[in-house]
Structures are given as C-alpha cells and as structure tokens.
C-alpha cells in the first residue's frame, strides 16, 4: 500500500514535471524570483506544441484559405477546417457545421446577442445571473437598450451558488426567450448545474446559452449531454493563442439566425441589389479568419486531449482542495465563494489589506495573481466588496506554488497589521 501511494505520488509529480517542461515561460524570472503564475483564469500560458504549430504554419504552409486553387491554400484550408472537426469532437457537437470561429468568448456572445437577439420581440426576456462576467452581461444590456427586450437577473446565494428557486420563479411567466448563464464563475469558482438549468429553461420554452470560458479548461464539455443550445469558449484560456474563440450552437438555430458581420467568405452570391448567404458555419465567418490562431487552437486541444480530462480534473480537484486548506490557514484570509461544486479559481480578501497591495507584494515575490473586480462588477456589489484578490490554477500549477502563495500572504499580512 505504502509503496503504491509513493509510486503514484511520484507519477503525479513526474507527469507534472513533464507538463511544466512543455511551457517555456515557466522558467522565466520575475523581479529576480521564479515565476509563480497563478492567473491562468485570466489567460493561460502556452505549451511549445502550440507555439510550434503556429510558427511551423508561418514557416512552411501558409496561404489564405477557402478560395485558393493551389497547393499551399488547399493545405492551409485543410489544416484550418480540421480544427473545426477537432472542436466539434471536443465539445461533443453533432456536426462540424455547428462550430463558428470567433475572436473570443466575448465576440461569440455578441454574435448571439446581435443575430439571435434580432429575432426577439419587445417583452421577451433574456435571463442572466448575478455572477456573470461582463462579457455575458453587457451585450444583453446593449440588446435591451436597442430593442426593448427585458433583462432579468437571477441572484446567487450567500455561498456563491446559483439560486435555483429564484431561477424557477424568474422563468415562471413564460416570457423568457433565452437563459444566458456561466458554466463556471471566474470569480467564485462556482460550477453551475448546466443540465438542470437547461431542463428548466426548455420546460419554460426558453433557449439556453452557457458561457464555458472557464469550465471548458477544467472539465469535459458535452453540449448534447447538457442539452445546451449555445455554448461559448475562448482559446487563450485553453492554452491556445489569443484571437480565437468558438461559438457552438444547434444547427437549426444557426440556420435560422441572420448573419452578423458582412464581407468575403460569408456570402453565396453578391449583387448590388441583393446578396445571399453561405450556409453555416461560413455565414458567420466574414473576412479572412484567424487562420494561424485556429491552427494554434487545434494544437492546444490536441495537447489537452493528450493529457486527458481525467488527469486534468483530478489535478485541479487536488490543487483546489489543497489551496482551500492552505489559504484557510492564513490569518485574516477569507475565501469568497464556497459553493459545493467549485473549480480552481479562488477569490479572497485578507483583513483590510487592499487586494491591489496584495497583488503587488505577491508580484515582488514572483507570484502573479489578479486583483480587482474581475470584470464582474455587479457580483462585487452583491458580495459587498469593491475588489478581491484571485489565484487560479492551470495544468502546470504545483502544490508547492500554492504553499509558497500561502506563506507569502502570511508575511504580507504581518507587514500591514
């Protein structure tokens, strides 16, 4: 027994070492100290597999896609479109045509707000939650102000879970057309019960959009098992490049939606009087897409799959448990968000030391955490704080880094009180 445990610990440490070796940036120094990067929820670092895929594309196999009748363009088109298949498999989509490439989650949600939103009538309701990132709030506010749909908000409970009773009440008048809710909060770490939300939404005649920007990094997404209608993810948090995100939606919904941006590649025929649209997904991809970044995203997904969500999930769960314990021991530290199902994003305050001071003093020691409202101002109001500090974990995060964070926080506190 004992031997087995030691062996499996060594395994974990060994594979963590191998993973870390794939991320060149982790050997950088900051203020003369080893970089301890605990801001992966804002944007993850990139493995060499992603860096190389992008560089190799530019070095050996690049041309504009879809219209080229020559070798380089055909190969680049294939590489680009192959990522659509990869993303479809990654999300459990029924068909590759359901995958629309966007710049990021923000653009994906704006696409839905503009295009699906244009089909809504005044009096219909878009229902969000109190813990949304601005990306899943501001587009709906803008839609409201443009068209007169109503924006309704479902509160969170004191421990940071979605208030499911309130959700039911909010759905009860049958006017809700779309429920748009995060699958994992970037502030509280809360993971919402997406399937239950989808069932409630559908029973009330509403469609449902999940903001999977955070969740898809840590757990396997299966849009069909969730019975989702829309799902969005963003490449740079998935160890991929910036400039690439994904909107998934059911084929029949995408078919019914008008295009968002106009230009090349999204048309079927064009005359001055009238243009007709290409079929999905191209209808929603106007202009030269982020070709190199899409290929980089493909490399990132392949990298994630090579580790596997079993290992990723186990690592994250172990880290989160460890971190909640280690941080819980720091005097005056208060973790914000204690929902039963939660992931590796931990917000906290420490007595009345301002989160900005915490972040700067951690940075002096090489530790990168985020401090502020985390693009979730309304949630901050609900929580009665103006800002929090936040540590968040990636596949390369180690328990030792978390211990160092906790020890440094204890010292910082000693500094202030």
């Amino acid at each position: 027994m004992m031997d087995q445990t030691v062996a499996s610990r060594t395994d974990v440490a060994g594979s963590l070492r191998r993973i870390r070796a794939d991320f060149p940036i982790l050997s950088q120094k900051v203020h003369g100290r080893d970089l301890v990067f605990l801001d992966s929820a804002a944007s993850a670092q990139k493995p060499r597999q992603v860096i190389d895929a992008m560089a190799d594309t530019m070095r050996t196999q690049y041309a504009n896609i879809h219209r080229g009748l020559y070798w380089m363009s055909e190969r680049t088109t294939e590489a680009y479109e192959a990522v659509r298949d990869q993303v479809a498999a990654f999300l459990g989509a029924s068909a590759r045509e359901e995958i629309v490439f966007t710049r990021n989650s923000t653009e994906a949600i704006n696409l839905v707000a503009h295009s699906f939103g244009s089909l809504l009538k005044p009096g219909q309701v878009v229902l969000v939650s109190e813990m949304e990132h601005h990306a899943n709030l501001v587009p709906w506010q803008m839609l409201r102000d443009r068209t007169g749909v109503e924006l309704r908000v479902t509160p969170v409970t004191d421990d940071g879970a979605l208030d499911m009773d309130a959700l039911a009440r909010n759905l009860s008048d049958g006017r809700v057309a779309l429920v748009a809710i995060t699958h994992m909060s970037n502030v509280l770490g809360t993971i919402t019960d997406a399937r239950a939300i989808a069932d409630m939404a559908h029973a009330a005649g509403a469609k449902v959009l999940f903001d999977g920007s955070q969740l898809a990094v840590h757990r396997r997404v299966d849009v069909r098992a969730l019975d989702a209608d829309f799902y969005v993810v963003t490449g740079h948090k998935l160890y991929g490049p910036t400039g690439i995100g994904v909107l998934w939606a059911r084929r029949e919904i995408l078919d019914a939606m008008p295009p968002f941006l106009g230009g090349g590649d999204m048309i079927s025929t064009v005359s001055f009087e009238r243009s007709t649209w290409a079929s999905v997904p191209h209808k929603f991809e106007a202009g030269t897409p982020a070709i190199i970044e899409t290929i980089g995203l493909g490399a990132a997904l392949a990298y994630i799959e090579s580790i596997g969500f079993d290992a990723i999930g186990a690592h994250e769960e172990a880290l989160t448990t460890h971190a909640l314990q280690a941080l819980g021991n720091v005097s005056g530290l208060k973790v914000i968000g204690t929902a039963p199902d939660r992931g590796g994003v931990i917000s906290f305050t420490m007595d009345d030391v301002h989160p900005h001071d915490i972040a700067t003093l951690l940075d002096r020691n090489g530790i990168a955490v985020r401090a502020g409202h985390h693009c979730a101002e309304p949630l901050m109001h609900r929580l009665g704080v103006s800002a929090t500090a936040r540590a968040s974990f990636g596949i390369y995060t180690t328990p030792e880094e978390i211990d160092f964070l906790a020890a440094t926080l204890e010292q910082i506190r000693g500094f202030f009180v």
Binding site: H31, R33, H354, T360, R364, F415, F416
Partner: protein, 142 residues
C-alpha cells in the same frame, strides 16, 4: 520574502494612520478623483489663501495603501505652497515614478519612486494629485 522598498514604513504608516484625513470644516473647495477600474476614490476639501496657496487640505480616501499614503503625504506637503511649487512637486513625482529616480527636493514623496517597476500601480499614487490639480484649476477658471 523579498525586502520591500515600495511598502516602506512611511507608506504603511500613512496608509494605516493618516494624519490629514477627514472633512475640512467650512472648506471653500471640493475635489474628487476616482478610478472606476479599481474602485479607488479620493475626496478632497481645501481652502486657498489670497495668493492662491493651499491653506488647508483634507482627504477622504478609499483605496489601496499606495493611494491612501499618497493622499496623506500630498496633503502634508502642499499646504502653504505656491501654485507653481505644487505643479513642480506633481511633475517631480511623475518623474520619480516613471524613472525610479527621485528629483532633488521631493523628500518623503520619493517613497513612491519604486513604482517605476510596478507601472500598473502608478495611477494609484497619482490619483490624489490629479484630483488636486483639477480642483485647483477649476477654482482658477471660476
């Protein structure tokens, strides 16, 4: 932990126990500065004398230690100064935080020079100063 030259005693002390905070009874002027991105807010109340010198200055600051200490050290420093000298101090402080080298005569305000290695925090130290300059300019315009 790395010995810290930014959070020096003077900064921590002034943040913890400010000497010039609170309202100013019968103040002639009010000023306010805020940074919506981080929630920092500074409220100023002041009197100026006939020569335009700051005769009294009080601040109410909600924010981080850098911002709070900066407001308090500012309040201490500008009282009794000519407007030109206030502008000079402001400019010198900008130089200090941008370059890390404090111009002569900056005194305790040179505590903020290490901010040049924490550029995202420069605005915390400068917020009280922007509020002050704006308040004084508004007064001139009237």
């Amino acid at each position: 932990m790395t010995q810290d030259d930014l959070y020096r005693t003077v900064v921590l002390e002034r943040a913890r126990t400010p000497r010039y905070s609170g309202p100013l009874a019968g103040a002639q002027m009010q000023g306010e500065g805020s940074n919506p991105l981080c929630g920092d807010r500074v409220r100023l109340q002041a009197n100026v004398d006939v020569q335009g010198r700051v005769a009294a200055l009080r601040h109410e600051t909600r924010g981080c230690a850098i911002c709070a200490a900066s407001a308090d050290l500012m309040a201490e420093r500008v009282v009794g100064q000519e407007p030109a000298r206030v502008s000079q101090l402001h400019a010198d402080l900008v130089t200090a935080v941008e370059t890390g080298i404090a111009p002569e005569g900056l005194g305790e305000l040179s505590a903020f020079a290490p901010l040049h290695r924490h550029r995202s925090r420069i605005r915390c130290a400068m917020l009280p100063w922007s509020a002050l300059i704006e308040m004084l300019n508004d007064d001139k315009d009237r």
